[in-house]
Symmetry: C2
Subunit: 598 residues, 2 copies
């Protein structure tokens, strides 16, 4: 693969032209300086770091993988040095509070940096990514002493974090957790149990690892309502705040996986380990959900990053590889064959990746900006609106972006033909790496159930209205604009299908929830397409305006935006019709199948 | 993964109940004994061999891979012994002519055995699979001396074959081949050139390897019309017919791939190697296409085999894994959680695999039986009809079955959640192994272009009518049957869409071939769904008849058939509507995208 180049032009289009994010962010208290003058250099620096430091370690990290010896995990060659540079560059604390030594920058910016990291080296990105989730949970739910002791360490990247949920007998169904917590006189607790699939659970990048562990207190209620969250450091900090005595935490194995080989996936045993309660007893799921929602958005961004990487690799190959001739007349009669970029099916694959990637980038940015605005300004009602929107879109971003990342990587392989199957070329690694994103932090099927079971039903459908209303308003406002008709009309049609599907799901949910569950995955996919389509209509509008203003030198960029928008509407949105049909069909054919005949 | 069990019941359903293959085959000259009494024990034996010998080597073969040292390729532990057993069991010559020491059994039977092999161990199956292709090309195009010298060795499996097409600068576009052939006085030729991606190009399973090599004779016309086919043995047989002096053939490397690690993918250098012309000079593509068409059907069967393997693994996991509760009331209140088989989304994934797998099995069997019948009986017109049908369906079987295999393996991983991502569990290997089937023997995009560019246009659409007419006749005959309405009506609707899409493609082909090419992949997918749907209607009809006859003990089997047929119609066929929409859309949005903006 050619080196990764961050899509800075598109990021700036989204930030400044589509969203006016510089204007909106710098109007918020404390972010007065968050203008293009601040944002651009940060994006440029991140792009450089990803290209020069992280990307070169991506394939070697995959080939070498992590090694496990006697309880110690060694990351691949170069990872420790890269992490040190990453930490020293302040990237671990980009969004952390100033009081913790962080830079307190908007989520929107952090998200774009995350996308770059995931494009360049997903396995590397998982280590600091987990720390961000731990930071968020601790910052909201931890008491003052915990926050003081641990948040600065996470912000500086000196220490890293984990999320310890899964156990051998329990994945999705956290009510089955068996890990126990025994309260001690000093207010701490002793934690005992086995956790599996713990990303970054043990490694050699940092001096200490902070495990956020779900466990049961004695006499806790059964199931999900009896789970508490504890912070369990690998080394218990001494009075000087430095890593002190080893805690009862041991890594017994790492998993051998399909991909993300440079990310250590650990089995962690807690044996009377000292832990500290985070939040209230038996209310661990609340804190965990905060961490989980952060993680789900982050995994969605992983999908986006992988899709962008696949796009770049596939385009480079399609420009270089010469095979066959264009239908009609040769594009390069001077060569023995034309570059495969001329073939309609190759263009179809490239544009499919491109249209979804750019649609996803715009969608994620819109949500992040709304969250930034709610975090810093607006009243309670405004905050609630944003929280609703984020809650609604989190499962959609997680599942539809990761589906996209996997699809993109596979299209990338397909563009490269047999060469895509060879490890040396790097594209197949993206497929293997992307595959996990459809599984962890709740499988994409679980996201779909979250969407229809929790998000659609909450507060009488209030969450849904947070998305439907602005889309409705947009369509109404633009209905009369002939220049936008080619974008707005297909979007309106797709939205109509989403509304019908939503009504069908709601009705099924009342009559027979299994019917709704049977269509959940297709419903989520439909929703994701409409949400991206909304962004595409807005992007097309923005591009048209820029062209009308005569952006001479950049006409290509805006023409490409318009062409991609047209492709999205004409070639990707029609899937919505089929998805509506299967959602409406319900679950009878699933339920009727005799269990023993499977 | 639990051990693989061949789907013998379903194979017998297809053979005897759906197709009446025993009756039809035993009516043909020379196959009088091909009845259930002959077929069943062969299927049973093949199932046993696959379960006991090949399946246990699948994961170890993947982990160990092939090793390359000083020009020698070593297959993984156990492969040589398994191949010896395979050869001794007569499996290599199942369909070979009696005169060559083969068993001369129908293609239909060979195909079912191939499916089992691919389910159990795809990487192993590639070695004898290539030999079958070489046998077919040589049997039809080789002269008597070549046939006498080499066919028995391929039939016995003592020697294996390869197909040497690809070169570094040439994959799909075989007109770019540079390998040269210099005729010698004794009628042989000296072959010089480099071939890449040569499956089974070098290995330790057999005493000799017969390379079928595309090369150019001096003064050959440029491009595809100047290519000849040569047989180049690794060791030139001596007068006693045994492997004699080493030929100028050397393996310089094997590829490190995403999957099929136990299958050696070789770089082969020919350096003044002795070769023998197969067929006429400059007509190599004709012989190669025969081999290629065989190979494409065989790769389709690989997709089918992998899908079946994924299904079995996913079902076993879904029965065992307990997580969450059924909506409504618990199915196993005695356990802490219900088996995940109760969840609608899990059932959706399992039934998607099942419905496509069984539909594909029936479709492939139908085509194979038609080919068997044409090979042994009927007049010239009948043979032509069958050749047309096979030519039409070959790209569809190759591409839609391999898409299915990959989709199935991925659904298998999805059912298993995070556990599916762990190598130890075997499911992710199916994803990696399946990925190659969408690429080799012509990418699936190339299949789609073959379908619209060659197959639809041949003889004024004659090929298409070979499929449309029987389907039309079937729909007309069953239109009035209320018991079949729930199957026939959705099929008729999907067929209507296929007809519209075919008309659109034909019109686009006349006006602007790029428009047709832009929809080729979706058109092929649509065609595959309708072709499977046709089989599902027939299977449902067969199952209804069996139930009406009161197949007491097997009611479950037939009920499951009907339930799967309903699922296929209700949940999988609706995709046809979206596919028609994108086909009809044409290629404008692809062509309009500015090349430099990619």
């Amino acid at each position: 693969m050619q080196p990764y180049h961050a899509p800075l032009r598109d990021m700036r289009f989204v930030l400044y032209e589509l969203l006016g994010a510089d204007r909106q962010l710098s109007a918020l208290p404390g972010w007065e300086e968050v203008t293009a003058d601040l944002i651009d250099p940060i994006l440029d620096e991140a792009a450089k770091f990803c290209r020069e430091v992280l990307f070169p370690l991506n394939r070697s990290g995959d080939e070498e993988g992590c090694r496990f010896e006697n309880g110690v995990v060694r990351t691949p060659k170069g990872f420790k040095a890269a992490y040190d540079l990453f930490r020293q560059g302040g990237w671990t604390g980009l969004m952390a509070a100033g009081a913790d030594g962080g830079q307190e920058l908007p989520r929107l910016l952090g998200q774009m940096v995350s996308e770059m990291i995931c494009s360049a080296n997903l396995a590397f990105g998982i280590y600091p990514g987990l720390s961000q989730g731990a930071y968020a949970a601790l910052a909201v739910h931890g008491d003052e002493a915990l926050k003081r002791a641990y948040l600065p360490k996470l912000a500086s990247g000196d220490w890293t974090g984990t999320m310890c949920l899964t156990e051998p007998q329990c994945g999705t169904d956290l009510g089955l957790i068996r890990t126990r917590a025994q309260p001690q006189e000093d207010g701490s607790a002793r934690i005992t149990g086995t956790k599996i699939f713990i990303s970054a659970g043990e490694h050699d990048l940092a001096d200490n690892i902070l495990h956020l562990v779900l466990a049961r207190l004695p006499d806790a209620p059964k199931g999900i309502k009896g789970i508490s969250l504890f912070l369990v450091p690998k080394f218990v900090p001494g009075p000087d705040g430095r890593p002190g005595r080893p805690n009862g935490v041991a890594c017994s194995a790492i998993e051998h996986k399909m991909g993300i080989n440079a990310s250590a996936t650990c089995v962690i045993h807690f044996d009377d380990a000292t832990g500290y309660l985070v939040g209230e007893p038996n209310k661990g799921m609340r804190a965990m959900f905060r961490m989980m929602n952060e993680a789900r958005l982050a995994v969605g961004i992983q999908g986006l990053g992988l899709a962008e990487a696949a796009y770049q690799g596939a385009v480079a190959y399609a420009r270089e590889r010469q095979q066959g001739r264009a239908l009609g007349k040769p594009s390069r009669p001077d060569l023995p064959a034309d570059p495969i970029l001329v073939h309609p099916d190759v263009r179809r694959m490239l544009l499919t990746i491109r249209a979804k990637t750019e649609g996803a980038r715009a969608l994620a940015a819109w949500v992040a900006l709304e969250m930034d605005k709610a975090a810093r300004g607006g009243d309670r009602a405004r905050r609630e609106e944003t929280e609703d929107l984020a809650a609604l879109l989190t499962p959609i971003i997680k599942a539809s972006f990761t589906d996209m990342g996997f699809e993109a990587a596979n299209l990338g392989v397909q563009v490269m033909g047999g060469h895509g199957y060879i490890r040396e070329h790097g594209m197949e690694q993206l497929v293997r790496d992307a595959r996990i994103t459809l599984l962890y932090e709740g499988t994409n099927g679980v996201q779909a159930l979250d969407l229809i079971g929790r998000k659609l039903t909450a507060h009488g459908g209030r969450f849904l209205r947070r998305f439907f209303h602005p889309l409705d308003a947009y369509l109404a406002a633009k209905a009369g604009d002939p220049a936008l008709a080619e974008f707005v009309q297909p979007l309106a049609k797709a939205f109509g299908r989403l509304q019908q599907a939503s009504a069908a799901i709601a009705l099924q949910g009342l009559k027979n929830p299994s019917d709704a569950a049977a269509g959940a995955a297709d419903y989520l996919r439909l929703f994701g397409l409409v949400a991206m389509g909304f962004q595409w209509a807005r992007m097309a509008e923005t591009a048209l305006a820029a062209l009308a203003e005569g952006q001479g030198g950049e006409a290509d960029f805006y023409q490409a935006k318009l062409a991609t928008a047209r492709f999205f509407m004409a070639r990707l949105l029609p899937e919505c019709g089929a998805l509506l049909a299967t959602v409406a069909e319900g679950g009878k054919t699933l339920a009727d199948f005799p269990d023993r005949a499977f």
